[in-house]
């Protein structure tokens, strides 16, 4: 017997071919539709770990890009607020210089100072999205005490300090205060009301009466490795100087002071407001630098993210046209296998035995 073929082996071969072709067809169809391997783990093996890692990093970078957008929005609001304060301060400085040289318009100056102080306090108390943006990391508490509220501690402390000064100097009338003494007061006890708290004697609450903000600024992670300070706080020196300048013009009213003393007050105010303007500009510049850093970090991360997206596709993707060609070929194969199975089973000698 040359070579023998058993009936069982013939039918088994036909059946197993059919099953294999059908399994291959379903996989090829899935690849054609999704554009990725049907079973990533089987196709990639150990390199699946690398694609998981890439996806991880992709999501991480995406998340940082999103949070950078939030942070940039907040910084924008802060900058606009600082712009407003700066403009107001510069106008006030111009008015101060005008009054010193011309010695009229004092009443208008006082009311301008009052308005400016109100708007300064309002701006420093601004909130965005539930956070007080000038409160530092103590963002859930309104930072600055309203000077104009009845019984405000900051106003009370300044009024007391002035009253003490008048009593200590023994002046019969406010108009008797000489300019040198006034300057000394303004640079001494008055300035102390805007400075750090001290135990005394006598105990002075100082800037604590004005602001509960934290000295620590809010910081955020702007890239995978950088953390930056993304805000400012109401305790900064330039805000104190602005408050000082406005308060001394508005609260130590011109009525009653003699003209030279009044001029001394104006000079002090000009000093303070100029220093505050310089400070504000510096603060804005620092924040602007951070905004630049955020922007460049976002740009860099966007490019990285896109590159990673392509790499992930490289690992996991299949050529859809190739998969579609495979589907067609396997369909033909299944068709042929089915036809053969049917035809070969009909070939039997039993059909011809009577």
């Amino acid at each position: 017997m040359a070579s023998y073929v058993s009936t069982l082996s013939m039918s088994t071969a036909l059946r197993s071919n059919l099953i294999k072709a059908q399994a291959g067809l379903s996989d090829a169809h899935k690849e054609m539709v999704t554009g990725r391997h049907a079973d990533i783990g089987l196709s990639l093996g150990t390199r699946t770990g690398q694609t998981v890692n890439l996806r991880n990093q992709y999501d991480k970078i995406d998340s940082i890009i999103t949070t950078n957008g939030i942070v940039a929005g907040r910084m924008d609001v802060t900058q606009k607020s600082l712009d407003g304060m700066l403009e107001t301060a510069q106008e006030f400085l111009g008015a101060l210089i005008g009054v010193r040289d011309g010695a009229n318009g004092a009443e208008v100056l006082a009311s301008q100072a009052q308005n400016n102080l109100q708007s300064l306090i309002g701006a420093l108390n601004a909130s965005m999205g539930g956070q007080f943006i000038f409160a530092g990391i103590d963002s859930q508490n309104r930072p600055v005490t309203d000077f104009f509220a009845p019984g405000a501690a900051n106003k009370q402390a300044i009024d007391d300090a002035f009253a003490d000064f008048v009593v200590a100097g023994g002046y019969g009338d406010v108009g008797e205060i000489p300019p040198a003494d006034m300057t000394a007061f303004l640079e001494g006890a008055f300035a102390a009301e805007f400075g750090p708290a001290s135990a005394g004697p006598p105990p002075v609450a100082g800037w604590d009466n004005w602001s509960t903000a934290s000295d620590q600024n809010v910081s955020a992670r702007i890239s995978t490795t950088e953390i930056a300070q993304v805000g400012t706080n109401a305790n900064k020196q330039h805000f104190r100087e602005l408050a000082m300048g406005y308060t001394m013009i508005f609260n130590l009213a011109p009525d009653g002071l003699n003209s030279t003393t009044y001029r001394a007050v104006i000079d002090e105010a000009i000093d303070k407001v100029s220093a505050a303007i310089t400070g504000l500009v510096n603060d804005k510049a620092q924040l602007g630098t951070t905004e630049e850093r955020i922007k460049s970090s976002t740009d860099r991360l966007s490019i990285q993210r896109d590159v990673m997206g392509k790499q992930i596709d490289n690992y996991e993707g299949v050529d859809e046209y190739e998969a579609s060609a495979r589907v067609t070929q396997l369909q033909t194969q299944v068709d042929t296998a089915l036809a053969l199975t049917a035809r070969l089973q009909q070939l039997s000698i039993l059909n011809w035995i009577r």
Binding site: T7, L8, L42, T46, G49, V52, G130
Partner: protein, 491 residues
């Protein structure tokens, strides 16, 4: 007289042809049975011309048969490994679905990043807690899957052992019958078929090699050389009794054949595949899960902020249920690999409002006690601790090298490396299974062609038998007529 001898010959022809028909019908009946070997009649001619049936012959091919036994065993090994790896892969799944532990760790990291930008938002804090809880739960569930796979492999091993014992008992019966039949000259072809069937089933469980002896007796050895059957079956057990059930090895005839202490380890078979799954694959994967859990506990650990010298201790992730308030003194951090940590890891209840904790501790620290409070000013937008955690998450750390994943990498890198290890093993096992299955198919095919039945062939033979039978019957009737006419001539 030659007429009577002609009668004799014709009659012997008829009986031989009936035996042929019987064998033919047995062949046709066994055409679809993969264990059936084609039979034929061995006949010879006597000196007086009559036909004698000497016995029933059986188509054999010893080489192909032992090849088929080997292929069955190796296929069973790989199948066991592939099936277990498929189950383990459920803990990872398609990377796009983000179900792997690495992806869940990434989700926690991103939630922390968002929280770090707006630390005063309690919704973001809740998101961090939720992601952390998901991660801990995924680790617990993955551990459960590994434990289930391990138990499944163990029960496969013990089932395999009982199956082997049962088959060896059956083998003893059939073998004895064959030896007796060979000695007495009976037709033992059906028993031979049955014995080969038992051998096929046995090779599924363990790799075997067989040797024939006098009188068709057979001896079975494992493929590593330990005696399974020699006149009587040898004991196949799981032991020793002193070991924990999941650590027991398979003993054949007192010799351990699986596990690290095996002197003559099995090379193939379901039992070997299950032993690899139970003793190597699941153990290594569990180590990876436990190292991941340990890394988590360490990354989120809190240090004493008061300078009081208290040890660093577990923060957001704790071993076990944890307690509110935190225990004093605080428990020490794990120093090295901790077996079973992945099954026990949990989120510290001091962070969970539903269990008596406080969400703000996620931002402020203090999960391990008041001395571990980081937010000195108690400010709402304090992000120092969060940024510290994010930095720590990105740092490289050392992992146990016996976990077979990247041993110096970040926590996320280790999780990805673990995925790569599992999928790599799966790809290798699937390729090996494909190869072994193809080999088994080819061998089975060849064996079937050598020893199987072709129904068309048998039917053709039947037609010839039919004709010979009619011819012999006709000879009988003719001789009968001839004798009748002779006898009637005498009257």
């Amino acid at each position: 007289m030659s007429l009577s001898s002609a009668l004799n010959v014709a009659q012997s022809s008829l009986s031989a042809l009936s035996t042929h028909s019987q064998i033919l019908s047995r062949n046709v009946a066994g055409a679809n049975d993969p264990n059936y070997h084609r039979k034929n009649v061995l006949q010879s001619t006597n000196f007086d011309g009559s036909i004698r049936v000497n016995g029933i012959g059986r188509a054999v091919d010893a080489v192909l048969f032992s090849g088929k036994l080997g292929a069955t065993s190796t296929t069973a090994t790989q199948q066991a490994i592939v099936d277990a790896l498929e189950q383990l892969e459920a803990t990872v799944n398609d990377p796009e679905l983000d179900q792997s532990l690495g992806a869940k760790l990434g989700a926690l990291t991103n939630a922390l990043q968002e929280f770090g930008v707006t630390p005063d938002d309690p919704i973001l804090a809740q998101t961090v807690l939720t992601k952390a809880t998901e991660l801990a739960r995924s680790l617990n569930e993955a551990s459960q899957v590994v434990s289930d796979v391990r138990k499944g492999a163990h029960s496969d091993m013990s089932d395999g052992v009982s199956e082997v014992n049962k088959l060896l008992a059956q083998f003893e019966q059939v073998n004895t019958a064959i030896v007796k039949g060979t000695v007495s000259g009976a037709d033992i072809t059906d028993q031979l078929d049955k014995r080969d069937q038992i051998l096929s089933q046995l090779s599924q469980q363990m790799g075997i090699s067989v040797q024939g002896r006098a009188n068709n007796d057979m001896v079975i050895y494992t493929d590593s050389g330990v005696t399974l059957f020699e006149t009587v079956p040898r004991a196949v057990t799981m032991g020793p009794a002193s070991a924990a059930p999941l650590d027991r090895a398979v003993y054949v005839d007192g010799v351990p054949v699986t596990g690290a202490g095996a002197i003559m380890p099995l090379k193939s078979g379901l039992v070997r595949g299950a032993a690899i799954v139970r003793d190597e694959i699941t153990v290594t994967y569990q180590r990876q899960l436990d190292e991941l859990a340990r890394g988590l506990v360490e990354v989120f650990a809190e240090t004493d902020q008061t300078g009081g010298g208290l040890p660093a201790t577990a923060g957001l992730f704790v071993d076990g249920a944890g307690s509110v308030p935190p225990p004093v003194p605080p428990p020490a951090l794990p120093a090295g690999p901790v077996p079973g940590l992945a099954a026990r890891i949990n989120v510290n209840p001091n962070a969970d409002p539903a269990r008596g904790g406080d969400l703000s501790k996620l931002r402020d620290g203090g999960l391990a006690g008041a001395a571990y409070h980081y937010n000195a000013e108690n400010a709402a937008a304090f992000s120092g601790r969060i940024q510290q955690l994010l930095t720590e998450l990105g740092q490289e750390r050392a992992f146990d090298p016996s976990a077979e994943a990247d041993s110096t990498t970040s926590l996320a890198g280790f999780a990805s490396s673990s995925v790569g290890w599992l999928e790599g093993k799966r790809q290798l096992a699937a390729d090996a299974l494909g190869f072994e299955t193809a080999r088994l198919e080819r061998t089975t095919d060849a064996l079937s062609n050598a020893t199987g039945v072709n129904v068309d062939d048998e039917m053709t033979l039947l037609m010839e038998l039919e004709r010979s039978y009619s011819a012999s019957s006709m000879i009988l009737t003719t001789i009968d007529r001839m004798i009748n006419s002779l006898l009637s001539a005498v009257e």
